[in-house]
């Protein structure tokens, strides 16, 4: 198993198609089909409800000769099934979402092409999660080494920790290019056609790609997935110069470390950057439009996170205010940020800082997609979709054979959500209905310590409970009681479980603490597979590990029903 996984990722030599499929199968499917001691029941019942009758409307398409050559060279990637299309599936955008969809499509035997107008990997790999994790890894160590008190409690002495900005920046950059080449070669190895250029939809099942203009190539596909992602959102009145007023795109290059930086927006992106900058010696001022920092997190977790991540650090904040105008530093003046009250719009003074990072969220990148050709109207730029990621047109009707995944549909702007949506779409187009449960998709913020969550927050759960008339219970465990966390001197942390005491259903889990981002998956998998607390609480966790925080969490829940699956017969191993 191990061997086959590494083979699938590293082999760049041409492999025959059947081999690829086998490898991909082993990689993608084996874990699902394993059964662990009867703890899991009825997982992923394949509802063979085929909602799509494959409409084989033929579209005449002018082919040009150069394209045929491309096809001929890549026979390993299946041949398009009947219908006269160039491809079974064309994915516009080679980000993490498109990549996930492409890999799964090949596994399903679809002839697949992926279009990329910029660089493979998209935002996540090049300008998002990946390089930011490199910065956070470096700055996290820096913070630890600077924390004399923390070091002393281990009995360690560290003299004058320092850092080389360029070195840190290079680490981020190198990581991005490494992951990018991994992604590229994994697709090449499976024979996915990587087509360069921006894609424009011309009509149903037909699109063109290229650098724009007449040199574009027109291709047809049975199904099309839009996975064009997003770009940093810059509100009106803010002038981004890329030097003193920057977005995450610039910040990830870490071209300089300002003494004092204002971060507009205190969501994931802002929070992670505050972690990086304060560790590298900057002071930070948050500007948040809502009344509370860290909106979107469970309030209790947010509060605790604020105590640990904001209050003791060199950070202050203005909440309930908009940055109505930001002028970059020039003519010997600092960056000037004009604030207005978020509700009354009254001026609330100015802030003068050395730099400003705009982390107000991300805007979908859907311009130039040719959506007007198929009568689709974006909503604030997002492509409207139903729960199966099928695109909805201006009349509220489904556009056949067109799907949109990832940031471009705005359902859940996370790389792994995009990938999951992509896989869901491929399942559908290969004849198996599939609806992704977004409540089972975990999210994480990689501060030190980390924050992670899956499912509903407490207010959301209570609202839902009120509407649907059930009871909600909360239980919490502290990292202070966890041996491994204490050994690491990282006892600060909390795990919170929101559940239904009547059925044992997990509604949400929120973790703040050491390695929270890695710990959440036990909960997210439980939600995805419909495992209930009364079952999962019998699962065994290695001691001493951080996973016992969750173990304890499940054990502390008071469920009114008994275990739904009594201990199964012992299995000889």
């Amino acid at each position: 198993m191990q061997a086959s996984i590494s083979l699938s990722l590293s082999s760049s030599s041409p492999i025959t198609r059947s081999d690829c499929t086998a490898v991909a199968n082993a990689y993608l499917c084996t874990p699902r089909s394993l059964r662990f001691c009867g703890l899991r029941r009825e997982v992923f019942e394949s509802k063979s409800l085929n909602s799509f009758s494959v409409s084989t409307r033929l579209v005449s398409c002018p082919r040009d000769s150069s394209f045929k050559k491309v096809c001929a060279a890549l026979q390993s990637n299946g041949t398009p099934s009947k219908g006269g299309f160039d491809y079974d599936l064309v994915i516009i955008g080679a980000g993490v979402g498109g990549h996930g969809a492409a890999l799964h499509a090949v596994e399903k035997g679809l002839k697949t092409a992926i279009l990329e107008g910029d660089v493979v990997g998209g935002t996540c790999v090049n300008r998002g999660c990946v390089p930011s994790k490199a910065l956070l890894a470096a700055s996290g160590r820096m913070r630890e080494l600077q924390n004399e008190h923390h070091m002393k409690s281990f009995g360690l002495q560290v003299a004058a920790a320092g850092y080389d900005r360029q070195g840190v920046a290079d680490h981020a950059n190198n990581l991005a290019s490494k992951i990018r080449s991994n992604l590229t070669s994994s697709m090449k190895a499976l024979g996915v056609d990587i087509l360069t250029g921006t894609g424009t939809i011309l009509g149903p099942q037909k699109l063109k790609y290229g650098k724009g203009g007449s040199g574009d190539t027109v291709i047809t596909a049975k199904d099309i997935i839009i996975a064009t992602g997003s770009v940093p959102l810059v509100p009106k009145g803010i002038e981004v110069d890329g030097k003193s007023v920057i977005t995450s795109d610039h910040a990830l290059k870490l071209e300089f470390v300002p003494e004092w930086i204002a971060i507009v927006g205190s969501g994931y992106i802002g929070l992670e950057f505050s972690d990086v900058y304060t560790a590298l010696g900057s002071e930070v001022t948050f500007i948040e439009a809502l009344d509370q920092l860290m909106p979107g997190f469970d309030p209790e977790i947010g509060k605790l996170a604020q105590r640990v991540l904001i209050n003791p650090r060199k950070i202050d904040y203005h909440t309930g205010v908009f940055a109505s105008k930001i002028t970059p530093a020039k003519d010997g003046k600092p960056v000037i940020i004009e604030l207005i009250d978020a509700k009354t719009k009254e001026p609330k003074g100015t802030v003068e800082v050395d730099a400003a990072l705009i982390a107000t969220g991300r805007a979908p990148f859907t311009q130039g997609l040719g959506l007007e050709n198929i009568n689709v109207q974006t909503q604030r730029g997002f492509v409207p979709v139903d729960e199966r990621m099928r695109v909805i047109d201006a009349n509220g009707k489904l556009v056949p054979h067109l799907f949109c995944i990832g940031d471009a549909n705005g359902k859940m702007m996370l790389a792994h959500a995009a990938s999951a949506q992509g896989i869901s779409v491929v399942e559908q187009v290969s004849g198996k209905d599939h609806v992704l449960n977004h409540l089972s998709i975990p999210a994480a913020c990689f501060t030190h310590p980390e924050i992670s969550m899956v499912g509903l927050t407490e207010p959301q759960a209570r609202e839902k409970a009120e509407k649907e008339g059930f009871e909600v219970s909360i239980t919490k465990t502290s990292f202070k009681a966890n041996t491994k966390a204490l050994a690491e001197n990282e006892g600060e942390g909390l795990a919170k479980l929101i559940y239904r005491p009547d059925t044992g259903e997990i509604l949400g889990v929120h973790i703040f603490g050491l390695h929270a981002a890695d710990l959440i998956h036990e909960a997210s998998n439980a939600i995805a597979m419909g495992t209930h607390i009364q079952d999962i609480k019998y699962a065994v966790h290695a001691h001493p590990t951080l996973s016992e925080v969750l173990d304890e969490l499940f054990k502390s829940a008071k469920v009114k029903v008994n275990s739904s699956s009594p201990v199964v017969q012992p299995v000889a191993v």
Binding site: A159, G162, W260, L486
Partner: protein
Amino acid sequence: MASLLQSRTPSLSFSSSLCSTPVIRPSAFLLKPRSGSRIPVVRAKIREIFMPALSSTMTEGKIVSWIKSEGDVLSKGESVVVVESDKADMDVETFYDGILAAIVVNEGETAPVGTAIGILAETEDEISEAKAKATSQSSSAPAPSAPNVEESSPAPKVDAPSPAVAAAPAPTSAPSTPGKVVATPYAKKLAKQHKVDIGKLVGTGPFGRITPEDVEKAAGITPAPKSNVAVPPAPAASAAPAAVPPKAPASFPEIPGSTVVPFTTMQAAVSKNMVESLSVPTFRVGYPIATDALDALYEKVKPKGVTMTALLAKAAAMALAQHPVVNTTCKDGKSFTYNSSINIAVAVAINGGLITPVLQDADKLDLYLLSQKWKELVEKARAKQLQPNEYNSGTFTLSNLGMFGVDRFDAILPPGQGAIMAVGASKPTVIADKDGFFSVKNKMLVNVTADHRIIYGADLAAFLQTFSKIIENPESLTM
């Protein structure tokens, strides 16, 4: 309730030994009968509920929520209010039976530790009186009414972090709004902590902003031991300057008026190396050397750009070539590491710092190349552009204080090297030769410090003898 501090005993028995965590139960400090010093007519039956100190570092608390509302009957031990401290939210319970007559500090508001946040009446009759008291308290500047603790402290004035939120009830002066005070986040935090009125400071930072250093200066601190706990332990700026001294020294009595200047990175590195050197058993051997011939040679080659440093380095390198053991390093205390090349590091003082640019392969380069190389290194050192391998690859160090008239001194062996040579000034000295004739010759004293684990007295003596022969017959240097 106070969930963060409560540790559940894990159900795995073998982990339980490590899991006891102290649990703080706030309550004792909560209610005390009013002393009556301020308001003349006070009945003991009306009690104030004070903001409790929930942790040793807590200076103020925020009311998260009132569990009871005005008019509720309270019994001893009941939770009344949830207070948020710098560490956690905690339920605070009452010590007395009574009626919650009035809430002075509302939900979401903040009050310093020790100020009244609510009024407790014993009977219904006293409610109106208690209410009157409450209104007088909340209307007429609540902060000064804080009876015992922190009277009229200017601390909360700076209410830095959240000017826009948290109606910041205590003092109503409003410097948090536009006013032309620009202070960095950490400066504001420090000001609050040390009760410095930030409005009165003159900023020295970029664009006239108030920096943490300005506040520290105004507060007259090198941080007090207590505050170390409150402040995040992250040290000051981490970027280029400000390095943390390597070992915590014993505390010395403080002499008033002294200033503390943190080490620069270079100084911190020197300090670290010096302390490390204490672990090496060293000894010293001195040797007098006549320099007339060297001086004569120096006069000759000086116009060609040769410096005394180059001459000495070359001489040392040539002597080392004959005595490789003096060029060794003891890395693990168990073995000799024979260095393949002879790299002479030369100590150079650079404004407030010390660095040792290295003349690599000094035995192989000729005197003129060596001099040229040296010139480049010194320029780079001055511009702080030395690459690491240009200052840390030395195998033997030369330190010359002769130009200052120092006649002899004792050098500390830098870690990672076997020996260091300290060169004193060359001075005319009366010498008696073996035939008993007196003469006056220039003479300098060199003193070598070496690691006795690898270099013994005889080794050094032999090395010095060779060195002195080279210096006394310096023609070989130019070859």
